[in-house]
């Protein structure tokens, strides 16, 4: 699975992951509670765009980010203009877009591994309840390993249908689920055998 991380050495790349995460959470809180007016929202959008530019996304990356949000902007904005008011449309749509841009900046500049470490730290208090903070992090990695395996199983089931000249349609999910559960049980044994996860 390819991470959405983009290597680089901008300021945002160098700020620790935990700090960025906290920053994003705080911005989300502030933006949605303060509810700046229409003008304020436009300033906010400008700031968010600049932040994204600073990550090294370039003008092209920035435009692309906006382009991906086009439907949200058009439809949400449109609905709000029709049903509420143009000012509300700018305010509310702008708020959502600004937050999405900030989040994209965060995602582009933070390595998966660094976020995993944050996750580990977040889970550290769990130790008091007898949960190993490594376990959630391990589960995350285990899932990443399993996605291509599952895709491979899907292919096996597809091939089996084609080879046998039958089309199961959605019923094909049954053999897929069986293979997936079998795989899970094998992995469970391997985990136990390696003395991990408990």
């Amino acid at each position: 699975m390819i991470s959405l991380y983009q290597p680089g050495d901008s300021i945002l790349h160098r700020i620790p992951a935990g700090a960025k995460l906290l920053g994003l959470a705080l911005s989300a809180l502030v933006i949605s509670t303060v509810r700046p007016g229409a003008a304020g929202t436009l300033v906010l959008l400008g700031v968010a765009s600049v932040v994204l530019l600073v990550t090294g996304a370039g003008v092209r990356g920035l435009l692309l980010a906006w382009w991906r949000l086009r439907w949200l902007i058009l439809v949400l904005g449109g609905a709000l203009v029709v049903f509420v008011s143009p000012a509300a449309a700018v305010q509310n749509t702008g708020r959502v877009v600004a937050l999405l841009l900030l989040a994209e900046a965060m995602t582009r500049t933070t390595r998966t591994g660094d976020l995993l470490d944050v996750l580990r730290r977040l889970f550290r208090p769990l130790r008091a309840f007898g949960v190993d903070p490594e376990t959630p992090a391990l589960a995350v990695s285990l899932t990443i390993t399993m996605v291509p395996v599952l895709a491979g199983l899907l292919e096996q089931v597809r091939d089996a249908q084609r080879a046998r000249g039958v089309r199961l349609g959605v019923r094909a999910a049954v053999p897929l689920l069986v293979l997936a559960m079998k795989h899970a049980d094998d992995v469970g044994d391997a985990l136990t055998a390696r003395g991990i996860g408990r």
């Binding site: 199983l153 096996q156 089931v157 091939d159 089996a160 249908q161 084609r162 080879a163 046998r164 000249g165 039958v166 199961l168 019923r171 094909a172 049954v174 053999p175 069986v178 293979l179 079998k182």
Partner: protein, 226 residues
């Protein structure tokens, strides 16, 4: 040369810029053909092309006179394919259901009786309604084979069908496959099984490097792997 049931002509296959078959030309006309070679040498890819499960990037494949790429359905209704892992091949929860799936062309009223017959014939009598996951490895491979053979294929391709089996089950499946009246292609790492075929094909790094009587080809494989 016209009676070859399988003809590969300068077939190459490239996946993600990596060549996995390189200019393979082969005419198979023996009743029983073994395909041998190292892990990743292209054996399974070669076998899968016989059934249109994989398509060549260039070159032409003819199977029973048909082009699997263009006439996939017709080829597949004539070619039976057995995979290594029976688990991946059994599509429905119980043996009876799975066999009935293969018998789509048999009138519904007769299907149940036919299923019973087949179960009996493959030593699975009484297990028709048991969850497939509770069958033993050998029983599962027998079921997978039964589900393929009961459609009366005109050609059978098997990709390492005995790998997970013990002596008796491996022999049983091997005897079944080698005893078929229709042409049979068997991909295998079991060189004793390969030796029992009429012809052998050796793959190395995507190339067909030898084709001929099994003893010589097996000897060459041993030398290559030394």
């Amino acid at each position: 040369m016209t009676d070859a049931h399988i003809a590969f002509d300068d077939v190459s296959c490239v996946v993600d810029d990596v060549p996995i078959l390189r200019s393979v030309t082969a005419r198979l006309s023996a009743r029983r053909t073994a395909v041998i070679g190292a892990n990743g040498s292209g054996k399974s890819t070669f076998a899968r092309m016989m059934n249109g499960l994989r398509q060549p990037t260039s070159g032409s494949v003819r199977v029973l006179g048909l082009d699997p790429a263009a006439e996939g359905m017709r080829v597949r209704s004539r070619v039976g394919f057995v995979f290594t892992n029976p688990e991946a091949q059994i599509l429905l929860p119980t043996p009876a259901e799975d066999l009935a799936l293969s018998l789509g062309s048999v009138p519904r009223a007769m299907r149940a009786t036919r299923v019973e017959q087949i179960l009996e014939q493959y030593g699975l009598a009484g297990r028709g309604d048991q969850p497939v996951s509770e069958l033993s490895g050998g029983q599962r491979q027998l079921l997978a084979l039964a589900a393929v053979l009961c459609t009366d294929p005109q050609l059978v391709v098997a990709d390492e069908p005995t790998t997970l089996l013990d002596l008796r089950n491996a022999r049983r499946i091997a005897d079944l496959l080698l005893g078929l009246a229709v042409p049979t292609v068997i991909v295998t790492h079991d060189l004793d099984l390969a030796a029992r075929c009429d012809e052998a094909v050796l793959f190395d790094d995507g190339r067909l490097v030898a084709i001929g009587a099994p003893p010589g080809v097996i000897e060459m494989y041993r030398r290559l792997s030394a």
